[in-house]
Amino acid sequence: MDIDDILREVDPTFHAIPQEKRDLQDLTRAWVAERCAPELLQWPANDLFERVNENIKRQIEKVEEMTGDMDPKTNFVLIVLQTELERFKYLVRSYLRARIAKIDCHTLHYLSTDDLRSRLSEMELAYATRHQALLHNHYLSSFLSSFPPALQNLNDTAGNVTMIDAPDLDSAVFVRLLRDTAVEARDVDVDSSTGGQENAIYILRWSDAKPLVDAGSAELV
């Protein structure tokens, strides 16, 4: 047993990894996952983005306070702080836009059930609802309003192609195992079950990978 394990036993709130580092790992992992998964993922529940955003705001204020100081020493610190700030801003921006792009692509799908709606942040939900309304209105004013009433729906699921487009959950992805774990994979000719080792990288269908990712046993790469 090492020192961290002992510390944890006496203090359950102890974390071996400092909060800032954990947040950066979580933020980065969430970004990579959102850029790689074929469907929208859960908005992190632990206020990660709210916290990161708050920290960015505070850092910007700090940079503003330091600005104007021409002492070359603090000047370099300022350069470092600004460089890092841009890196964080970029991560959050790219993450948010990856999500918006997915929401735009399958808006009705993500609005269709409570379960799916709960993946969106409050702001995203408001955006998605309004966007769908704008689109519907655009179709109506362009041609749809002169259609027979029975044909004016946008959410008709009868017929051979449903109008509510959904992402292809069987799309293939690359995952890396974060711990030794059993990997169930479906394939055309044969389904398989393998004892996967930490650090192994596989190609899986997203529908097979998702349970591993949700359990924290694997990450998208």
Binding site: H15, K21, A172, V188, N199
Partner: protein, 252 residues
Amino acid sequence: MALPLPPGLTHAEVAFLAEMEMVTIVPRQRLESMDLLSGQTPPLRPPHRAQLPLWLALLLKKQRRANIVPPPWLHPASLSEIIHRETKENPQTFSPPPPPPAHANPHDPGHARRLADADTILSPPFQPSCTASAPAGYLPYHWLEVAEALLAHAGDDMAAPAGEVRSLLRDLVEVRAAKMRSSTSVLGGAENGLMELTGVGAIELAESRAFVLGVVDGVRKIGAGAEAARREDEEQGGGIHDDDGSDDDMGI
């Protein structure tokens, strides 16, 4: 489209990630600790080594405030060993990634890994696989990005002439690219199953991802009917397919 990029990380995005890898530097000037969003930096006191993310190390290097210690795996002897392994010992697969760092080391706080479920499990670029204490003989996930960045900006800190390192890297890139290319050709026949690419690097994935996944998805769509029929048969056959016979070595 709010994001006009295809799924998966681009080369530039992967390189951006790689800049978060920790590297070892030898400061040439004192610098007090800084409060960064990613945590406090250690105070820099020449000639004591310190660990910093690559992006910051490169900033210091460009300003001649520090030298960067190349990771052991980037030494010519290590690269030659890996090339040997990739060509002679395992001509089919990528050489294995560095072994996971051991449990927490009290002298090296912050590098502790999985301890309990509450803690985040660290993975590249947040494992210390590019520092001076990283093992030789293993290529970390961001090997090519880190190697190229160091060659471009800290060539004079290399343990060997940059040209020698560069030429070994070229060889390695070639050997591994051929493995990536052959990865999809197995999909044509029957009985493939799980595809494993353990040891592949981030840049290598960025280059081939869309194509490889495109082939896998195509094969799935062409075989969808056959797959559905097989499942139906197995269902009626009374679950012969329960366990594929492979050992579930969970190892937890």
